[in-house]
Symmetry: C2
Subunit: 137 residues, 2 copies
């Protein structure tokens, strides 16, 4: 196993919220949707089913923790969870807060339009709020 | 908990492959992609994080089993896994075989174009092959 280093495309699109037991937790810099990404610190794995059973269980736990906190924090109508990796092969799991009337409701967030970055202060505040909501929740 | 009955929209778009410990396994009738759907037999739950911890672990196990078998069977370049539920609220997990050049590569399968049904014989053969690949794998 190589030392873990975040894929540069994921790094460019996000800001880091923190680190869980298995995953680095990222916030997408796209104000169209509250959108978190979990990245298991396993550089050599691209499919969830290729993680060890223990890592799979950890990922499930951390994904649920994140999803539940995001739904509570945002009051979202529905949480969308997805692991695609067609463009960026480093294994990552999207957790996105959705509601009726959002930018592409009820379609998916992936591949839709262009990201709309937050203002710096808003991004910073949201990240801090999410640290509280997810990591201290 | 109510008696489990499959959502009629899921039933209309799919054929049943079989039953795992927690989930009913469905095959989407769309020949653009080899596309399976796991439906936990829990009618009252719409989010993965609202399943019990045991059910979450079962779902992870059954999703991985399905994803691994589908990738081996199809030789797919990438497996896409997603739980959206924006249209159909009954909890269901998509497991889709993807490859460079497929109908919407590298975009998502959800919300893209119209399903292209298999011919009846092809669907029947594929379902039987998947029973072997997933349930006897």
């Amino acid at each position: 196993m190589r030392r873990f280093e975040l894929d540069p495309r994921l790094a460019a699109d996000t800001t880091t919220v923190g680190t869980l037991g298995l995953c680095t937790l990222l916030l997408m810099n796209d104000r169209r949707w509250p959108w978190l990404i979990l990245v298991p610190q396993r550089s050599d794995v691209t499919e969830i089913h290729d993680l060890t059973p223990l890592d799979q269980t950890m990922l499930t736990f951390e994904t649920s923790l994140t999803a539940k906190a995001l739904q509570t924090f945002t009051g979202a109508e529905k949480i969308n969870v997805g692991a695609l990796g067609n463009r960026v092969r480093m294994l990552h799991v999207h957790v996105v807060a959705r509601r009726t009337g959002d930018a592409n409701w009820p379609g998916p967030v992936w591949g839709f339009g262009e990201a709309e970055p937050y203002e710096a202060e808003t991004l910073d505040k949201l990240r801090n709020d999410l640290v509280q909501a997810v990591l201290s929740g």
